[in-house]
């Protein structure tokens, strides 16, 4: 086992893992605060990548601006999805909510195929072809950007939840929505910006990962599956769990793909969550209710 190859695999895994963490953080926030399992979350990742592509090619804006616009637009779409579907259904059974989010996912994915076409697209980025050497590890600048931007975004989210007034309202809602409402917290507002934040993060992930892969209207399926694996492994509602589980999944997939089989790489990741769940059915970081 060559050390250079090994270090390279770890670095690739951490970058992939960080993208998973961004997707999973939104998913786990929506569950932790609002008790909603949003099956359509991956579609916001897909929309993030596509809007970055279209803003870049149609309006000729540079990549960074396109990514920022895409995150804001998708956050707005998330708020709209909340207003139309999730907020009216908030008192319904989780079964109803899960099924309607599945309907929303199919709607966005197939609507996306209608609008964007089924052929793969490639998001242009000035960082995609430039290489950066860190010790013996070689990464494209784009992949370094994925990691760095994700770290910055996650720190910002952490500070937001921990210290801002809105963050405290979120945590109160997570602990007890009725109690929070009684103390005068506007639950509707919490719903709105939790969705904005979650969908914005998903879109950011899509915009960042877009230039490193081909994008299709069906990548939302892939994204939500990865997000779910990470969230389930870390414990539904746990942000810390999502961070560790996401990086772990990325690294294990990368090592499995490098040393065992590229084709079965995905199955290795899934096999891992099953092993974890047999040991801890509610995930690695599950404790009592609330945001962690």
């Amino acid at each position: 086992m060559d050390f250079t190859v090994f270090a390279q695999q770890i670095a690739n895994g951490l970058v992939n893992g960080m993208a998973y963490v961004l997707i999973a953080t939104g998913l786990t926030l929506v569950f932790g605060v609002l008790r909603i399992v949003n099956f359509a979350h991956g579609e916001f990742y897909m929309l993030g990548a596509y809007i970055t592509y279209f803003v870049g090619t149609l309006f000729g804006l540079d990549y960074i601006a396109a990514a920022a616009i895409s995150a804001v637009v998708v956050a707005g779409l998330g708020v709209a999805a909340n207003k139309l579907i999730f907020w009216p259904l908030r008192r319904d059974h989780e079964f109803t909510i899960l099924l309607s989010s599945l309907g929303l996912a199919l709607l966005i994915a197939n609507g996306g195929e209608l609008l964007f076409g089924a052929d793969p697209k490639y998001v242009e980025s000035p960082f995609a072809d430039e290489v950066l050497d860190i010790g013996t590890v070689t990464l494209t600048q784009q992949r370094v950007l994925v990691f760095a931007a994700a770290v910055v975004a996650l720190i910002a989210v952490y500070l937001f939840i921990r210290y801002s007034r809105f963050g405290k309202m979120m945590r109160a809602t997570a602990q007890n929505p009725d109690g929070a409402a009684l103390t005068g917290i506007n639950i509707g507002l919490v719903h709105t910006y939790t969705f904005a934040l979650a969908c914005g993060l998903a879109a950011l992930s899509g915009a960042l990962v877009g230039p490193t892969v081909m994008i299709f209207p069906t990548i939302g399926n892939w994204a939500v599956l990865k997000g779910f694996i990470v969230v389930i492994m870390g414990g539904l509602g746990s942000v810390t769990g999502a961070l560790f589980a996401g990086l772990l999944l990325g690294v294990i997939e990368s090592l499995g793909g490098g040393y065992i089989s590229l084709g079965f790489m995905e199955a290795i990741g899934y096999a891992m969550i099953i092993a974890v769940l047999l040991w801890r059915p509610n995930g690695l970081f599950s404790t009592a209710r609330g945001l962690r």
Partner: protein, 338 residues
């Protein structure tokens, strides 16, 4: 279904006999091979939806992995008949057994959690089976799929065209429908419903919730496997797409639109699904957008599915004639999960 207790003890068997007779003569009314093919697809989806309905409707758990078991059954029988030369008639029960084996292992692991976590876990298991099928080229030929699968045959009777296959699947649908009906009336079935309505209460009454759910899940996967095997021997070609997210969504749509927790609901849902799928063929990708809208619309506005429209109408009709009305929406013994 639930009408015996409401003074229709004579009407119900007659209605069922009439329905079965109508289904039996349908291929002769179809007139052409294309419509007969659609009838087979309708019955196949009805069979698969009835099996999924055991989990969604009676156990009250949502599974996103059902298509994977259909695929396991299809691949089991296809591989046995193409590579080992086993007659498809033997492959059919083996497909059910292998699918049930997978169902047992996966159910044992996944049913430790309930609700959304279970749904997500089954999605993950389904994805594992899909990935393995797609990449284990030596066994499954990967994305190329298995071709030249021999048709099903019982002795000299070959099910190599739509009409005989229709009767084969119809027989299985009727058998499954009867099993579901008998199940709901049995002690085991009542345990299913008790677990669905209130698991802690059911446990306190001495029902082993985990074993009850596992039993229902394994039964559902066995039927799914048999349905998959028939599909493979009828279409004669299978690819890993049979296990894909698309098929998962299709089966859920059929059960929900028809009416979960009922027997006629999944059969009706399959008719609507196949009918719309074919009549909207020109619409292309817009079809799935329409189905997605139908799914969301049904979940929000008509939680009991299309079948509940009939129940509502019947109740309205009854109240006009001063007959006792059954509760609207989901009836207590066969209602879906709330």
């Amino acid at each position: 279904m639930n009408t015996n207790s409401h003074g229709q003890s004579l009407g119900q068997p007659l209605a069922i006999a009439g329905g079965v007779a109508a289904l039996a003569v349908l291929p002769f009314l179809a007139g052409n091979a294309y419509l007969e093919h659609l009838l087979v697809l309708w019955m196949l989806y009805a069979l698969l939806a009835l099996s999924l309905n055991i989990v969604i409707g009676y156990l009250g758990e949502l599974t996103f992995g059902h298509a994977a078991f259909v695929g396991v059954g299809a691949y089991t029988s296809a591989i046995l008949s193409t590579q080992l030369g086993l007659p498809p008639l033997l492959g059919l029960p083996l497909a059910g057994l292998v699918a049930a084996g997978f169902g047992l292992v996966i159910g044992y692991a996944a049913l430790r959690v309930v609700g959304p976590q279970f749904a997500i876990l089954t999605l993950g298991f389904g994805a594992i089976l899909f990935t393995i099928t797609n990449h284990w080229v030596d066994l499954t030929r990967g994305p190329m799929g298995i071709t030249d699968i021999p048709p099903m045959a019982i002795g000299p009777l070959a099910f190599d065209s739509a009409r005989p296959t229709y009767y084969l699947v119809l027989a299985l649908v009727l058998a499954t429908a009867y099993l579901c009906h008998a199940l709901v009336g049995s002690r085991t079935g009542r345990a299913f419903l008790a677990v669905r309505e209130n698991a802690p209460l059911a446990a306190s009454l001495g029902i082993n919730v985990f074993h009850t759910k596992l039993m229902g899940f394994v039964a559902a996967t066995a039927i799914a496997g048999i349905g998959g095997a028939i599909y493979a021997h009828y279409i004669r070609v299978i690819t890993p797409d049979i296990m894909g997210v698309h098929n998962v969504a299709a089966l859920i749509i059929v059960v929900i639109i028809g009416g979960r927790g009922t027997i006629l609901g999944p059969i009706l849902g399959a008719l609507v699904y196949i009918g719309l799928l074919e009549s909207l063929r020109v619409a292309g990708p817009l079809r799935m957008v329409i189905f997605a809208a139908l799914l969301t619309g049904t979940v929000v506005f008509l939680p009991g599915g299309l079948i509940s429209l009939w129940q509502r109408w019947r109740n309205a009709h009854r109240s006009e004639n001063n007959l006792p009305a059954t509760p609207t929406g989901l009836p207590s013994t066969e209602g879906g999960a709330k």
